[in-house]
């Protein structure tokens, strides 16, 4: 190799290296920015009022509890909807569907993943809110459950594609061995394939939850954005306000450096922490699983 091509090689690998590190730098910078803009909240708003029950920032009520509870409620509902549908779809695609059907289904799931959430939100506002109100006889269709259904749809493609990959990676011999023992196909899926792919499936669910909690536009359009604290199962059928919708709706008009501005960033920190915890949980599940497999193999 000539000297020139060696030095070019060096440059290119340096550039690639820099790109790789940039992710870490960006995360740290975002985190620093959130902290520096959000932490003044703790000085300006007392803890008692910050975790109070009323969110009405233009009069100085900064109770974020309704927002946290609203986000958690919508996410819980979306998870309950998306996990069974997502897993069932993944199992069908990976284990049951004939090859030609699989070739059709997979691209369709990917198209679903590519629909912008604002489009889904628009459909939710124009159609779903109406049908929810009429069929369930609710005062209004703009409710937590409307947000959960939409977010469920948004996170299903994530769950399907990751879980399907995990199921696909389970060695053929596992299924063959199980079937050779005379058990049915369903028993094989439930007792052999799914447990073998458990870490990948859990990652799929965690990624789906992460996608759900951070979603903004669709939720803002269909949940009604009323900062009410959910207190029972019936709250699914009442309006709520999420953390993301609050930031999106209010950040545009807020005066830079005001208490309200700082509180919105503080909500951003909380969101960051929640998604971080979800990701860490997902990663640790995968990590623990791998260690056990390695132990068995050694």
């Amino acid at each position: 190799m000539s000297e020139k091509s060696i030095s070019r090689d060096l440059y290119i690998s340096r550039i690639i290296q820099a790109c790789g590190y940039s992710a870490i730098i960006f995360v740290l910078m975002i985190f620093y920015f959130l902290i520096s803009e959000g932490i003044p909240t703790l000085r300006e708003v007392s803890a008692q009022s910050l975790f109070g029950k009323i969110w009405y920032p233009i009069e100085g009520y900064y109770g974020i509890w309704p927002l946290i509870a609203g986000s958690l409620l919508v996410t819980l509902g979306a998870t309950l909807i998306a996990v069974p549908i997502g897993l069932a779809t993944a199992i069908f695609i990976a284990e049951v569907a004939p090859r030609w059907l699989r070739e059709i289904l997979k691209p369709f799931v990917e198209i679903l993943a590519g629909i912008p959430s604002v489009v889904l939100g628009f459909i939710g506002l124009m159609l779903m809110a109406h049908y929810l109100r009429v069929t369930l006889d609710l005062p209004t269709g703009l409710t937590a459950i409307a947000g959960s259904i939409l977010l469920g749809f948004i996170s299903v493609p994530t769950i399907v594609s990751v879980a399907e990959d995990a199921l696909d990676a389970v060695p053929r011999s596992y299924r063959d061995a199980s079937l050779a023992l005379g058990v049915t196909k369903w028993q094989t899926i439930w007792n052999v394939t799914l447990p073998a792919a458990r870490s990948g499936v859990l990652t799929a669910i965690m990624l789906g939850i992460g996608r759900t909690i951070g979603e903004t536009m669709a939720v803002m359009m269909v949940t009604g954005n009323a900062p009410v604290i959910p207190n029972s199962f019936a709250s699914f059928f009442a309006p709520i306000r999420t953390m993301t919708a609050t930031i999106a709706a209010e950040m545009g008009e807020v005066a830079t450096g005001s208490t309200h501005y700082h509180v919105l960033f503080f909500i951003g920190i909380l969101l960051f922490i929640i998604t971080f915890l979800v990701n860490v949980t997902a990663a640790s599940v995968v990590f623990r699983q791998r260690k056990r497999v390695e132990r068995i193999l050694s």
Partner: protein, 251 residues
């Protein structure tokens, strides 16, 4: 009002490319303070100048002259099938504060009331809070019921009201479409109920309306005078209509 001022400035600059108008926001207080300090030629205001502001201006050698350039009215809207056709301001306040929760308390069907409002960052929200919910009383601390739906756009309010027979909403008069029904509003039980329209806003009988002002330092001259005269032209008042406000009717 900053959006209206921006739209006017844009259109005027398109018609007169040599003239450069810059508009900044910040609220009525900011605008009038800038006029008092003589750093602007025109202050836009969505309320009348206060007497103390006027005194400050005089002390600074500035003589504020008032122009009413447009009007702003809020229509109360319900589903077309809703039998309720008229409400007093007190009833609207009680609905939004959560004291009235069923349409049958105010002569409607036995249905729950779903309250719709614009987001808190909207100027319309603040105006509605001060003039309707708190009836224009300074020390009235009535709040929106926490279950009031806060929708990010006029479009969202119109969509939900046109679909939902339980809903009540409010919106700038210019944004109201045929898909919803406007309610006639009265100041108190004794007064008559008035439907909002460009005529009732201009003659001052519709109660939820306000005037939008511009203030200059003394009688304007030159290009400022030309601009203000242009604001009252049909072309400029058409922009008022397009922005959801009520145009001034020429007498």
């Amino acid at each position: 009002m900053v959006n209206l001022a921006l739209a006017w400035a844009e259109e005027y600059q398109r018609l007169n490319p040599k003239i450069n108008i810059s508009v900044t926001g910040g609220g009525t207080g900011t605008g009038i303070a800038a006029l008092v300090n003589a750093t602007v030629d025109i202050a836009n205001a969505s309320r009348e100048i206060k007497s103390e502001e006027k005194a400050d201006a005089m002390a600074n050698g500035v003589d504020p002259l008032e122009f009413i350039v447009a009007k702003d009215a809020i229509a109360i809207i319900v589903h077309p099938s809703n039998p309720v056709i008229e409400l007093t301001l007190q009833q609207i306040s009680d609905i939004y504060s959560g004291k009235i929760n069923s349409w049958n308390e105010i002569g409607g069907e036995n249905r729950p009331i779903v309250r719709l409002s614009r987001e808190t960052n909207s100027g319309t929200h603040v105006y509605f809070l001060e003039q309707v919910l708190r009836l224009g009383e300074k020390d009235n601390k009535t709040m929106f019921s926490p279950d009031t739906l806060l929708l990010p756009s006029s479009q969202g309010i119109t969509t939900e009201v046109s679909d939902n027979p339980n809903a009540i909403g409010y919106d700038g008069l210019g944004y109201v479409t045929r898909a919803v029904k406007m309610v006639a509003v009265a100041n108190s039980d004794s007064n008559s109920y008035i439907l909002p329209s460009s005529a009732t806003v201009n003659d001052g009988t519709y109660p939820i309306a306000r005037e939008l002002y511009m203030y200059t330092d003394g009688q304007p001259e030159g290009i400022i005078q030309d601009y203000i005269i242009w604001l009252f032209s049909p072309g400029a008042q058409e922009i008022v209509d397009n922005m959801g406000f009520v145009p001034i009717l020429s007498q």
